[in-house]
């Protein structure tokens, strides 16, 4: 089908549109299905985009950092910390390394133990935050050297739990896109059914049109236009409602963790505008295919 064919099929042809009487059942079904599917697609899109953002953030933030934990008796803790910092300063791929202060360590523990924890009375290991630089940290080599020079040091380059988290976020993103594809497929199936019902209901009119010399393109056009514009309208309403729902979701916050901030951000708000257009494209091809098949059957 050429661009010209598509333009001709979609051009408003009041004569052809008048020939086929509108049927309430299929009109309402198409409007409802395209509206509901667009509503769901908005949420699937929001989920997919948010998952992508989370995956990127986790991958970026965690990949460039590592933590060194010094487990040592209280008397040796300061000496081993200083020794570890010395090793780190001499290690290629370490951009900076600093020991966390007592307050920072307390802040890390307070979500689990509460704010009144007497840290000074507990044997808390010292944490050292490492920021990686070029040419990248050789974690295995660093572990070997620390094992020899700082016996109580344990290096955690975050890879053990970073990768599953990023994988989970990426899977969630893929799931969002698969959902959008399924929504598109379900929309196509429902509109095909509605178009078939409409074509069958108008079989007598089609027979009359054929008898007076109507080409399939003329007959199909009347149905294609009607279903395409109905789907566009239904999807536009569904998208607006979906975007309103997303807008009402809680904003991203540290307290909410990754469960908040599922909405769109920045240019992402433009993407839902494509949903009604995609709905119309799906309806166009679904109706066109159904009409061609039905007209072949009726000939």
């Amino acid at each position: 089908m050429s661009k010209g064919d598509i333009r001709n099929l979609l051009s408003r042809d009041t004569r052809a549109d008048r020939v086929v009487p509108p049927t309430g059942y299929t009109a309402h079904l198409t409007l409802f299905v395209s509206g509901a599917m667009a509503f769901l697609a908005v949420f699937a899109l929001a989920l997919s985009l948010a998952s992508g953002r989370i995956a990127d953030r986790w991958a970026t933030e965690l990949a460039g950092a590592a933590t060194l934990r010094i487990n040592a008796p209280t008397a040796q803790l300061a000496a081993q910390t200083e020794a570890a910092l010395t090793v780190l300063r001499q290690t290629p791929g370490v951009a900076s390394a600093r020991a966390l202060t007592g307050d920072e360590q307390a802040a890390l523990l307070s979500p689990w133990f509460g704010p009144d924890l007497p840290l000074d009375t507990l044997p808390i290991p010292q944490l050292i935050e490492i920021v990686e630089g070029e040419p990248g940290l050789d974690a295995a080599g660093l572990r070997l050297r620390l094992g020899a020079e700082v016996p109580g040091a344990v290096l955690d380059d975050h890879s053990r739990w970073r990768e599953p988290l990023v994988d989970a976020a990426m899977s969630l993103r893929r799931l969002g896109w698969v959902s959008i594809l399924l929504i598109g497929g379900a929309t196509a199936a429902m509109i095909t059914l509605a178009a078939n019902a409409s074509l069958a209901a108008n079989a007598q009119i089609i027979e009359v049109l054929r008898q007076v010399g109507a080409r399939d393109r003329f007959i199909a056009g009347a149905f294609v236009r009607r279903f395409t514009y109905r789907a566009l309208l239904g999807a536009a309403v569904g998208t607006l409602l979906g975007m309103t729902g997303v807008l009402l979701l809680p904003e991203a916050s540290d307290a909410g963790g990754f469960l908040t901030g599922v909405g769109f951000q920045g240019g992402g708000w433009v993407l839902p505008a494509l949903i009604p257009l995609l709905g119309a494209v799906v309806a166009f091809f679904a109706t066109w295919t159904a009409a061609r098949r039905k007209l072949k059957e009726l000939s």
């Binding site: 008048r18 027979e207 008898q211 007076v212 010399g213 109507a214 072949k296 000939s299």
Partner: protein, 225 residues
């Protein structure tokens, strides 16, 4: 113009027409007669491609009809006007819109041909009923409107399938006169009817041939009228 050579048509296990051969010459007038269920409608449907022969060859305007695709068939039907016994109107459209339907589907503007449309409807005596809906029309009016629709594209051939089946004698005469008038304008006419009195009435007005379908075969019913 339309030529059938040994055309047979079978539906399911039953043969409805067997080895039918006939040629409709340009400008000719043929009556097609035979009892109800003899195959008159089937023969007419074969002539405008609504049915395809099971065997034999059917050509229209020098084209083998079995080789035409659906678009080519649509173009062929614009050259063949058909009047059905049940008229086949679209009830949600006005009479004028129904009659102008062939103009619509062929992409010609109704508004630019509005004068012709009014003139055509006046010719069939319906000049004042343009905005009426088909259910509001009498049987005779519907048949005359169907005839107007059949000829609005000025087809070369007019096929009339029992157009007088549901109308009184006077209206039958009127429809016959309209078809004769069309034939005098050069149109080829095939008029299917089981009403022999109508054929006899046409005797003084037109040079026509009478074809009769009997036992699935087509025969020339006698000398030219």
């Amino acid at each position: 113009m339309i030529e059938l050579e040994n055309v047979s048509y079978t539906y399911g296990d039953g043969e409805l027409l067997s080895n039918v051969s006939v040629e409709l010459q340009p400008g000719s007038f043929h009556f097609l007669t035979g009892p109800s269920g003899s195959g008159k409608t089937t023969l007419l449907k074969l002539c405008y491609g609504a049915l395809l022969p099971t065997s034999g060859r059917l050509s229209a305007f020098d084209q083998d009809i079995s080789t035409l695709d659906r678009d080519q068939m649509a173009l062929l039907r614009r050259r063949v006007g058909v009047v059905h016994q049940n008229c086949q109107f679209l009830d949600h459209m006005t009479l004028a819109e129904n009659v102008a339907l062939p103009l619509m589907v062929s992409g010609r503007s109704e508004s630019s041909e509005h004068g012709d449309l009014t003139e055509l409807l006046s010719w069939v005596g319906l000049g004042t009923r343009l905005d009426a809906r088909p259910p509001e029309l009498s049987g005779g009016e519907r048949q005359r409107a169907a005839l107007a629709r059949a000829v609005i594209l000025s087809p070369d051939v007019v096929l009339a399938d029992e157009p007088t089946g549901n109308v009184d004698w006077e209206m039958s005469q009127r429809l016959l006169r309209l078809l004769i008038e069309l034939n005098r304008m050069g149109k080829t006419v095939l008029f299917a009817t089981h009403d022999l009195s109508l054929i006899r009435a046409a005797k003084s007005q037109i040079q026509a041939r009478v074809l009769r379908i009997s036992q699935r075969k087509l025969q020339l019913a006698g000398a030219d009228l």
